[in-house]
Amino acid sequence: MSFSIETITLLAPAFVAGAFISLAHVPLGQEVLKRGIIFLDLAVAQFAALGMIAFQVLLNIDEYSYLGMYGPLASGLIAALTCAFTFHALEKHAGRYQEALIGCAFVLAASLSILLMANNPHGGEEMKNILAGQILWADWSDIKIAAPVFIFVFAIWHIFKDKREFLFYPLFALAIPFAVKMIGIYLVFASLIFPALAVVKLIDHKVLWGIVVSLFGYSLGLATSYIFDWPSGPAIVLSMALCSFLFPQAFNIVFRINKATCCSGA
């Protein structure tokens, strides 16, 4: 396949979705890493998915009505918020068992989702969609709904720096359902954790560099997915890993060169 303007327009919504998701998820991912609750995002993402599935399965509403389109998202949001607030409340009591509880919550939510889907003819496929995502199906109309949410999360996180202790869980629960719906659980996890790990050794501008890594990940992933015609979600996860691995080395090289030229006289 060759690249053309057509290609760009095909892949553009997916990339823009990735860019907005990076905006909100890179700073949140760094906080997740700092707090050492890595599985929280998997748990919250799975709860969001469970909320969406429960709405669709239990209420059986026409997918193409307004309620059918936005109801699952609302239900996923409620489930994610419930999950996040529960763990926020538990944080003080559970102590070092917090991570274990989060892991259990993830497994429970995942199993419940499977049980709910057992009688759905598209069950297996929808489960896969929720995990691996269908980022290529992301549409400008989806982005129009989700982008303000990600900008809001990013803005609040940076404006109210002193309230982060309290803000972290609700913002997290707000961002994740929108992201899961568009790109799937695996890619949400990747967008949170890989860029955060890539910049863990940096001192300044961690968020900025994290977003750079994430954008590289999305671009390279979409390009390889196009060239080899792979499903885009998994391809981006792999390229995100690659970019996060390469970033510290590249940064080191550049940093050392700078030091050699600029500061050799000092």
Partner: protein, 302 residues
């Protein structure tokens, strides 16, 4: 990082190269049988992209860039319809389809709109009944008489889209219909012995074939359409087939054969791996070969 830069530079070069332009018509087929039929009529004048191959279930599809690209340049979208592709076609059309292939336009051809459908639901339908298509059974392609109807329809569409080659399309259609008529007659004679025989199916995807050949279905391995076989359901199927002289368990290439093998082991009824569509096995290279193979396999098991 350097490698990355090289890659980016490489991508830049690729971007700069102009996309290849064909004067040929681009046809997006959801499944191989519609691609094969269009090829019979369009010959070298059409470029066919089939969204699925014979080993994939057209109910489900992963979003891949090639699908978007193929839909973007499609002049004709030829699918089954009747909700068969509802999980992905509407979103793909909305996202990548040009104005000439939107629903209800010349470039939008749904095979099931043009043939009489079986199992049409007149009563209330909901999700609890499994993967029911309220518009009727969508697997219309395995009745060769439906293929004949659609050959006319697709020719009509090809001519409407590309009138300069109208004569070629008409000639190809004439040749195809003459050949097809003889073949149907031959198959019907050949399949005389199959009349009245009963089979077990995995999914109700064989209704049109079996009705054409005068055969019957005694049970489906799926408890409800689209729901994978369960132990308790398989046990009721086993009871139902005993002493009924069932000749085969039909399985399509994309269906899980484990349940069929379990039933075969308990009942002695052979599992028959049917091609289901063009490319479904090595010999089923085109539509005539597909039906040839299908009848051969059915007769082999009886």
């Amino acid at each position: 990082m350097r490698k990355l830069l090289f890659l980016i530079a490489g991508l830049g070069v690729l971007l700069a190269s102009p996309s290849s332009a064909f004067a040929r018509m681009n046809v997006f087929a959801c499944s191989p049988e519609w691609g094969a039929l269009t090829k019979e009529i369009g010959g070298d004048l059409v470029d066919i992209k089939s969204a699925t191959n014979a080993k994939q279930d057209v109910h489900h599809l992963r979003a891949k860039p090639s699908l978007l690209a193929a839909m973007r340049k499609a002049d004709l979208v030829f699918c089954t319809g009747a909700s068969l592709e509802i999980g992905w076609l509407p979103i793909l059309i909305k996202k990548a389809g040009g104005p000439n292939v939107q629903p209800e336009t010349i470039g939008w051809l749904m095979a099931s709109d043009y043939v009489e459908k079986l199992d049409v639901m007149t009563e209330h339908v909901d999700r609890s009944m499994g993967h029911i298509h309220p518009e009727g059974n969508p697997h219309v392609h395995l009745d060769p008489r439906n293929i004949s109807v659609l050959a006319d329809i697709v020719t009509e569409r090809l001519i409407l889209i590309d009138s300069t080659n109208a004569t070629t399309y008409q000639n190809n259609l004439k040749a195809f219909q003459a050949k097809w008529k003889t073949l149907i007659r031959k198959w019907e004679v050949n399949a005389q012995t199959l009349r009245g025989q009963k089979v077990v199916v995995y999914h109700n995807a064989w209704a049109y074939l079996l009705k054409w050949l005068g055969m019957g279905v005694i049970a489906s391995l799926e408890p409800k359409p689209g729901i994978p076989p369960t132990v308790s359901h398989l046990e009721t199927v086993l009871v139902r087939v005993q002493g009924k002289n069932v000749t085969a368990i039909l399985v399509a290439p994309f269906e899980n054969e484990k349940a069929a093998e379990w039933l075969s082991g308990k009942s002695g009824i052979p599992v028959v791996h049917m091609p289901f569509t063009v490319g479904g096995n090595e010999k089923s290279k085109d539509l005539p070969a597909l039906f040839e193979e299908t009848i051969l396999l059915l007769k082999g098991s009886s």
